[in-house]
């Protein structure tokens, strides 16, 4: 696929309109996803997650800017913000932090509202990413909602997941509290010019050691914590801890290097294919479940369901028994 740099303005508008179709889950959107599927699978998908206030958007902005400056790779960004559970509306404000990228034809930024999903992504984010991938973007940065809660969906979608922390976010490390450290392929301590950076860094390393010590066997790994005579199996990826200042450029060459290394690690070890398989299986499962339910609903009368459910409410049937009954006799 040719680089998107040469994609015309009209091409971008067409892409953007297709994204809306996918986002709105229309039949045109589904057709588009079917048609572009064979052309997808080439982009490196990079997730960026972390609590609010850690500077995710700034980090994504700077990362994209430096990737663009360094080579001829194109970058797409999908930034997800929460929808209001009450009104369904959303304010999508991430572009405020991405001014530096404006005017670059090799960058495409799309804001998405989570539309009721709680895992940090929208239900259609994977589809939108697939479109951008098929359109030829080399790197796709996916910035999650960052509500600090169990945002593990991103790890399933992305090849490389970056968890962002910053000092002074309170006494505890947010990521540890939220349990998202396990999903990190790369840990970034942003705002490294702030007081408290040492504590944050130390806490992160300590937690990493806990998580990885049982696998510590061989020689030094990929820029992980190796200074205290701890050596790591070469086959094992130990998440490096990288300090950045997103308002400057400090730490970004290291971050880009780690992303590249992680990508080649995934390729070398066959994990890339494995992750892809897992993801596709996941997606297949998800769609299968969704489709089966939809089909079943289409074939089953609401009254019949209601009758059976009434029995469940009266505790004459168990829910499992109700399902058995309903799936046996359609109609």
């Amino acid at each position: 696929m040719k680089s998107l740099e040469v994609l015309s303005a009209a091409g971008k508008l067409a892409l953007s309109r297709l994204i809306s179709e996918v986002e709105n889950e229309t039949s045109a959107g589904r057709t588009a996803l079917d048609e572009c599927f064979s052309r997808s699978g080439k982009a490196h998908l990079i997730g960026v997650t972390g609590a609010p206030g850690t500077g995710k958007s700034s980090l994504v902005n700077r990362l994209a800017q430096l990737i663009r400056r360094e080579g001829n790779q194109t970058v797409a960004i999908v930034a997800i913000d929460p929808s209001s559970p009450f009104t369904g509306g959303a304010i999508l404000g991430d572009r405020v932090r991405m001014r530096d990228l404006s005017g670059d034809p090799g960058v495409f930024i799309r804001s998405m509202a989570s539309r009721g999903e709680l895992g940090g992504l929208a239900r259609t984010t994977a589809g939108v990413v697939q479109l951008l991938d098929a359109a030829g973007y080399d790197l796709i940065l996916i910035e999650t909602v960052g509500a600090g809660q169990s945002e593990v969906d991103i790890a399933r979608l992305a090849h490389t997941t970056i968890v962002v922390e910053s000092p002074g976010m309170g006494d505890d490390i947010q990521a540890i509290k939220a349990g998202i450290l396990e999903i990190a392929d790369i840990l970034v301590v942003n705002k490294a010019d702030r007081p408290g950076i040492e504590n944050t860094e130390r806490a992160l390393r300590a937690n990493l050691e806990l998580g990885y010590s049982h696998r510590v066997t061989g020689k030094a790994g990929h820029g992980g914590f190796t200074e205290e005579n701890k050596v790591v199996d070469a086959e094992e990826w130990v998440p490096p801890v990288i300090k950045t200042i997103a308002t400057e450029e400090s730490g970004f060459p290291e971050l880009i290097k780690a992303i590249v290394e992680h990508r080649s690690y995934l390729q070398k070890t066959g994990l890339l294919a494995q992750r892809e398989h897992e993801r596709l299986t996941d997606e297949f499962d998800h769609i299968l479940r969704h489709t089966l339910v939809q089909n079943w609903k289409a074939q089953t009368s609401d009254e019949h369901v209601q009758q059976i459910m009434d029995a469940v409410y009266k505790r004459k049937r168990s829910p499992a028994n109700a399902v058995e009954e309903l799936t046996r006799t359609s109609n």
């Binding site: 953007s16 709105n24 369904g88 509306g89 404006s102 005017g103």
Partner: protein
């Protein structure tokens, strides 16, 4: 579930930094169930057009309090239309003298809101611009 959300871009073209009105409108539209892309201050016409394309918005709202509206607004509309986004609606909020309102409407603005406009009016209008699109 096909939930066709209205997407609105709220932008501040020019150099003025007073974003109270822009933010109040953004919030009101959000509370009316729309998805509002907020781009912040000092947006050039090119930046607004680029964001409008990438976000595939239905309506673009601009807030200008500096008096630069006659120069900036037609330029934004022109730049946006050149991208192929021809069906997008436009509204302008700010301190716009009455005689300038007509000029802006000729340039393609659907509505102009001065001080004291109710957010309810803006919400209803935006819905109708979006459905016309």
């Amino acid at each position: 579930m096909t939930d066709r959300k209205i997407r609105v871009l709220i932008a501040k073209p020019g150099l003025d930094g007073h974003d109270r009105g822009a933010k109040v409108i953004a919030r009101a539209l959000r509370d009316a169930g729309m998805e509002v892309i907020y781009t912040g201050l000092r947006q050039t016409p090119e930046m607004i057009a680029e964001a409008a394309v990438q976000e595939n918005v239905d309506v673009i709202g601009m807030s200008i309090l500096s008096g630069a509206h006659l120069v900036l607004v037609p330029k934004v509309i022109d730049t946006v239309r050149k991208t192929g986004l021809t069906e997008v609606g436009f509204f302008v909020g700010g301190i716009i003298p009455e005689e300038d309102v007509a000029v802006l409407k000729v340039a393609g603005v659907n509505a102009v809101y001065g001080p004291g406009t109710s957010t309810v009016t803006v919400i209803e209008d935006v819905k109708s611009f979006a459905h016309a699109a």
